[in-house]
């Protein structure tokens, strides 16, 4: 009996001590959601740096599955169970959560001076002009090439479309897949077309098509699509069924000489050990501009109904500063949106340099606000174009009609 009493007493005491300790270390706990499952380690390091400066705040980073992140996030926000801080997508996907008021407007509350107006556009709600997230990194669509294969088969790195096709033919003759790209996953087809088309439709097209003075049936766009159709001959056998994973495998294994993709592939390719380099998409002809397509990947936003808004804003302010940008560049091999970071990685520096001649990644930046999105239309159109179901003109008309009907 006495034993039992003693035990109970000590249990109560223990619980009390624990509770006391809890209050002593009282902290604001912030939850941080993301779709970057591959970046958990780096983010925890970045967060540790933040927590060092702000001992009263602790941040817990949770990465969800990328494909369903939007659904998970919007459902949670609608149900009032969202995180304090979150990775947001940009453009249309940002508007989807900013428009209903789930996000805290940031302009005026934090200092956004380290960001360019162009980059802020990706996280601004067009309806009210407020900025709802701090842009974190830009992505670039470009061409990766296997240096060893070019050397081995004595092929020159192409600068123009003609050279590109000549190089591709040379690889083909040597039984090397010129391109790793397939179209089984619609979005990889969009990235491929997004990287290559701007040099054909030109610098002005984006502005004209977004303002409405031109549409997608424009000969410039049709012409660009026709060039894409020519790629059929250079993609792997069975490219219709080649998905993203297979594409990467082909390039990493040295079975394909080139890979048209996003700059987000760089860390993976570096890690795989493949001896590669990058270049902007080939120019239409010698002397023409050689642009890369760029877009803002996303931003960091604050939940408008967060109970720890002050702490959350503190963290978001941190993401808009140079030290954060530096870490983003160093640890995550991203081209940070925030100015002032010194890009140490030569590959990233190269990407950054390509931005001198750049065109917006057309469908994401311009046409993902309504349904059907430009991306959906183009991805489907590309699959039809590259499986020979439709001609470039027919695809262009479908895209154009779709965009005009979108709401």
């Amino acid at each position: 009996m006495t034993n039992l009493k003693r035990l109970a007493t000590s249990a109560i005491l223990g619980a009390a001590t624990f509770a006391y300790a809890g209050t002593a270390l009282a902290q604001t706990e912030l939850s941080f959601w993301s779709w970057r499952q591959e970046d958990v380690k780096a983010y925890n390091q970045i967060i540790a740096a933040f927590e060092e400066q702000n001992p009263d705040i602790s941040v817990t980073f949770t990465a969800h599955e990328a494909k369903s992140y939007n659904t998970i996030l919007t459902t949670a926000l609608a149900g009032g169970a969202g995180p304090d801080i979150m990775h947001t997508r940009s453009y249309g996907s940002l508007e989807a959560i900013a428009a209903p008021g789930y996000l805290e407007p940031l302009d005026g509350q934090i200092d956004l001076s380290a960001l360019s107006a162009d980059e802020l556009l990706g996280t601004t709600l067009r309806a009210d002009g407020h900025v709802y997230a701090v842009p974190f990194a830009s992505q670039t669509a470009l061409v990766f090439y296997n240096k060893d294969l070019f050397e081995k088969h004595n092929v020159d790195v192409p600068a123009t479309w003609e050279e590109f096709k000549a190089a591709a033919d040379a690889f083909k003759q040597n039984n090397v897949n010129p391109l790793a790209n397939g179209i089984a996953d619609g979005w990889t087809a969009e990235v491929m077309a997004g990287a290559l088309m701007p040099n054909f439709y030109g610098k002005e097209f984006f502005g004209e098509v977004t303002s409405g003075s031109a549409d997608f049936e424009d000969p410039r766009f049709v012409g660009a699509l026709e060039k894409i159709a020519e790629l059929k001959d250079y993609m792997p056998t069975g490219y219709e069924g080649v998905d993203y994973a297979t594409m990467k495998q082909l390039f990493i294994a040295g079975q394909a000489a080139m890979f048209v993709g996003g700059s987000f592939e760089i860390p993976g390719f570096v890690e795989s050990g493949v001896n590669f380099d990058i270049m902007p998409a080939p120019a239409a002809k010698a002397g023409d501009e050689r642009m890369v397509a760029t877009w803002l990947d996303g931003g960091y936003g604050v939940n408008a109904s967060s109970e720890n808004k002050e702490a959350a804003l503190k963290f978001i302010q941190f993401t808009a500063t140079q030290p954060f940008a530096q870490m983003l560049s160093d640890k995550l091999a991203n081209v940070p949106a925030v100015d002032g970071a010194v890009i140490a990685d030569p590959m990233l520096a190269k990407v950054s340099a390509f931005h001198a001649e750049a065109s917006p990644y057309i469908m994401l930046v311009g046409f993902r606000f309504n349904t059907p999105t430009g991306s959906t239309l183009l991805q489907n159109g590309l699959q039809e174009l590259l499986t020979g179901k439709k001609t470039a003109a027919e695809v262009a008309k479908d895209v154009s009609d779709g965009i005009k009907s979108a709401k």
Partner: protein
């Protein structure tokens, strides 16, 4: 004295009756609760959602049947609806012929109890208990045009021209998925058919055999009509399964019914519309719910009609 006992008896029987009712209510409670929470509630809320305008996840104004009109009559949306619907029809017809036809053939074979039939019974049923997600991914790998087992095999036997990008061509993608689905599920109808065949008294088959019926006659004239209840179940389940088909096309073709919407299904279309996707656009609960309600009405109506019709041709085995 006698009336008193009668009354006692009566009140006892009333008590018993009440206790019985209470017991029934108690037993029904969990099932009704689960049904209400996971079936009726979502159904009612879907109907509720479908008559409002939605801005993402925020409910807007009451719009009546506008969402339904949008889904059914706007040429930009209904072309997806019709495309998906006809794909579902293709799925139903193909599964009826390929999956259930094969199941019937297997059941007829197994019912004759050939050597090792118990082993085969297990083998055919095994894929049914595997997870659809795993099967989808596994077969996606098998069907990979370059590294996949299927094409590697075809090239090995020098059928290079047959080594197609199965999941990449609009002509072959849906068919490939249906074969995978048939492989996954064929054991289930086989088992149901087999059980139905086993339920037919042996005497009937023997009587037919003495009557001079060939194996084909026996299958067509005796076994087939007498397994009608099993056929009803399988046809209705296949119908519902076909029009709710989601996992395999989602895993193997993606949310957009790739390639070029050739594997788009009502389920995928609903998911894209209601919840949005990275490239397809933003979520729209209004039209999404309208679509869900339409799909539900269609499946409910047709499976009810089919059940009525099919049940009418069933015979009791005396």
């Amino acid at each position: 004295m006698s009336t008193l006992t009668e009354e006692n008896y009566k009140s006892a029987s009333v008590r018993r009756k009440r206790l019985r009712q209470l017991w029934i209510a108690f037993l029904l409670f969990p099932a009704v609760t689960i049904l209400a929470t996971f079936v009726f509630l979502p159904m009612i809320s879907a109907i509720w959602y479908s008559v409002y305008e939605w801005d993402g996840l925020v409910r807007g104004d009451f719009v009546g049947l506008a969402n339904f009109a949008e889904v059914l009559f706007n040429p930009q949306s209904n072309k997806f609806l019709f495309n998906a619907f006809f794909n579902n029809v293709k799925v139903f017809v193909t599964l009826m012929i390929v999956q259930n036809g094969l199941a019937l053939a297997l059941a007829l074979l197994l019912a004759r109890e050939p050597k090792g039939y118990r082993f085969y019974q297990v083998v055919f049923f095994l894929p049914v208990i595997l997870s659809t997600v795993i099967i989808g991914f596994q077969w996606k790998l098998f069907l990979n045009p370059i590294f996949g087992l299927v094409n590697t095999f075809l090239r090995m036997v020098e059928l290079d021209s047959w080594a197609l990008p199965w999941l990449g061509l609009p002509e072959t993608a849906l068919g490939s998925m249906l074969i995978v689905n048939a492989w996954h599920w064929v054991g289930f109808p086989t088992l149901v058919f087999l059980a139905a065949i086993h339920r037919i008294p042996k005497d009937l088959i023997e009587a037919a055999r003495l009557d001079g019926a060939s194996e084909w006659n026996i299958a067509r004239d005796i076994i087939w009509p007498l397994m009608a209840p099993a056929v009803t179940i399988i046809v209705v389940l296949t119908f519902i399964g076909s029009f709710n088909w989601f996992e395999i096309p989602y895993i193997m073709g993606g949310l957009e019914g790739s390639p070029a919407y050739s594997t788009d299904m009502l389920g995928l279309l609903f998911y894209r519309t209601a919840f949005g996707s990275v490239s397809a656009g933003n979520s729209d609960f209004g039209t999404g719910s309208a679509l869900a309600v339409l799909i539900f009405i269609f499946i409910f109506t047709f499976s009810t009609i089919a059940t009525r019709y099919l049940t009418s041709r069933e015979v009791e085995l005396s």
